[in-house]
């Protein structure tokens, strides 16, 4: 009998709220974190992005600790983890692991040629020492699937009985490094991003952290992690497969492990970056699986693309969606702009959600799909 694994605590720090409740409230009211920013330190022209206000962050952080010398991202990560660690009362022993997911971590340290601080293991150590984790941190850095892949890694480690509990934090920050890079790819939208729309023309970047507790203890279970898979496209390093092969196979395998059919999925929280190729690829993969009639949204219209945080942040919001039996609007969508039909959620509505699917895809041809099941 394979062990069942659950998510028992969730939290997130985003421009539209420093806890899950305030994020959900803003999502219900269609309030997005995306704004036009004129920040020459980040980019030499005004650009749309979803950025956390520095003074709000410092104010919240001061309530947690008077210690200084933490980077912005470290503050965001500590704020995401702190309440769930406190609430969970999980012991920090050799059965509790800490997993950190990020793409670029403290890459801003390179701006001052502080290479030492840019190491991801150093970031993990800083957070681990702050809270006093006893085991060596595991850093997952697998492009834009990192956040959801971390959930899959945690589930696998707990199923193999190596740990009982895994605290995951996922985070990335909007930096000059990231903005200039996406811009060099001509992948940035000149307006707030519009996932799956005919009018979409690229990503809007965002920053956030999210944290969850993954546990074998069913007592406070919010949701069960029922199946997962991460299959590479083996096609291209900077663009998705035209046929959505890796995503198709990832979803197929995740469904098989969850022992359900595609028609049992009630909701899909997709990646939806609003680049022409990504959204088209997702529509093709979903159609190949017969998932075209399942309500789907991309939360990028609220948060932008938060890179290594996105998969976990969107999971946290989707869990709330399932618990409240509410489908949230895919903000920014107007007219369908993918070649295959998919059922974009156009307004908030009630729906019974027993199973939902979270997917992500990223550079390097990576894809991850996780099936979640409501615990009765």
């Amino acid at each position: 009998m394979i062990k069942e694994v659950y998510i028992t605590e969730t939290n997130c720090i985003t421009p539209i709220g420093f806890d899950v409740a305030s994020n959900i409230k803003n999502i219900r009211n269609a309030v997005s974190g995306i704004q036009l920013h004129d920040k020459p330190k980040l980019f030499n022209a005004p650009f749309y992005a979803s950025i956390i206000n520095d003074s709000d962050l410092d104010l919240a952080f001061a309530k947690v600790t008077s210690t200084e010398n933490y980077s912005r991202l470290e503050k965001m990560m500590i704020l995401a983890l702190e309440p769930i660690i406190k609430k969970s009362k999980v012991l920090f022993n050799e059965r509790t692991v800490f997993i950190l997911s990020t793409t670029k971590g403290n890459v801003t340290a390179l701006e001052t040629e502080n290479v030492g601080s840019a190491y991801l293991n150093q970031l993990a150590k800083t957070i681990a020492v702050f809270f006093g984790f006893k085991t060596e941190p595991i850093v997952v850095s697998n492009a834009c699937v990192s956040g959801i892949l971390a959930v899959s890694v945690a589930k696998r480690l707990i199923q193999a009985e190596l740990y009982d509990n895994a605290f995951i934090v996922a985070g990335d920050e909007v930096s000059n490094f990231i903005v200039s890079g996406f811009n060099s790819f001509q992948a940035m939208s000149d307006l707030p991003c519009k996932p799956y729309s005919i009018n979409r023309n690229g990503v809007t970047l965002g920053e956030a952290t999210a944290a969850v507790l993954v546990s074998s203890n069913k007592e406070k279970a919010k949701i069960k992690i029922a199946g997962d898979s991460s299959i590479n496209d083996a096609n291209h390093i900077s663009g998705p497969s035209r046929t959505g092969e890796g995503l198709y196979r990832s979803i197929q395998k995740a469904l098989a492990e969850a022992k359900i059919n595609a028609n049992q999925i009630d909701y899909i929280s997709a990646h939806g970056t609003a680049t022409p190729f990504n959204d088209e690829m997702e529509a093709i993969a979903l159609n190949r699986l017969g998932l075209e009639n399942v309500p789907v949204n991309s939360l990028k219209g609220f948060y932008g693309h938060t890179l290594g945080a996105s998969g976990l942040l969107e999971t946290v919001i989707s869990i709330q969606s399932a618990l409240e039996n509410k489908l949230f609007v895919s903000l920014g969508f107007d007219e369908i702009g993918v070649s295959q039909p998919i059922t974009i959620i156009q307004k908030n509505e009630d729906a019974t959600i027993q199973y939902f699917l979270k997917t992500a895809s990223g550079f390097g041809g990576c894809n991850t799909a996780v099936v979640f099941e409501k615990v009765n």
Binding site: A118, A124, N142, F177, S238, G364
Partner: protein
């Protein structure tokens, strides 16, 4: 789950201008820079894969190691579920620093998408997957040091839960001309037992 014994089918080390395969030096050069050493290793392996020269150093290192071990393994016509589980300490920092230098000076601002794409450590997994047509599980981890304990456990999970038939594991570290790759193929059959003591021993050779 079936906790049958697993085996290290083959292994290689690339460091200090030398290429070791299954414990023997198969290729070496006079002391030289990595760009030259990697090019000569590419020639030694008799590859015809021009994309190699577009890769960053971390991808070249991982790619050469995988070529040594998968050359005789993969048949692109066959469905192949060899998972990739890689890790290092410096992530893509070597390329990160190069990219940062291209955007630091407003007078000399030349961000390049061809460099930016390599500022993710898992790109090397994409390169290997494309070369060997591995539509399989892949993940990249970062640790402060080589971590045979995690690598052993995680690859065993993939085999025992049937998420993979074989696992290509790799510690691929590259920063500022300092490099070491240790790759090995974990299989259900073989002679050399797959455990952390042996992984430690092989790495330190």
């Amino acid at each position: 789950m079936t906790a049958d014994k697993k085996y290290i089918k083959s292994f290689c080390i690339i460091q200090n201008n030398q290429v070791w395969l299954n414990g023997e030096v198969v290729f070496e050069t006079e002391p030289t820079v990595f760009s030259d050493f990697s090019k000569k290793t590419y020639q030694f392996l008799e590859m015809n894969y021009p994309k190699f020269f577009k890769m960053d150093n971390l991808s070249k290192l991982a790619f050469l190691g995988s070529e040594l071990l998968l050359k005789t393994e993969s048949n692109s016509l066959e469905e192949n579920s060899t998972a990739l589980v890689f890790a290092n300490k410096s992530s893509s920092l070597d390329t990160d620093v190069k990219y940062q230098n291209s955007i630091s000076d407003p007078e000399n601002y030349y961000p390049s998408p061809a460099v930016f794409v390599y500022t993710l450590p898992n790109i090397c997994l994409g390169e290997i997957s494309i070369r060997h047509q591995l539509k399989s599980e892949n993940s990249f981890f970062i640790f402060a040091n080589y971590n045979p304990v995690f690598m052993e456990k995680y690859s065993n999970i993939l085999l025992e839960t049937e998420k993979a038939d074989k696992v290509l594991c790799g510690w691929v570290e590259y920063y500022n001309e300092d490099y070491k790759a240790f790759l090995y193929l974990v299989d259900r059959e073989g002679e050399l037992e797959h455990n952390q003591e042996i992984l430690k021993k092989l790495y330190n050779k």
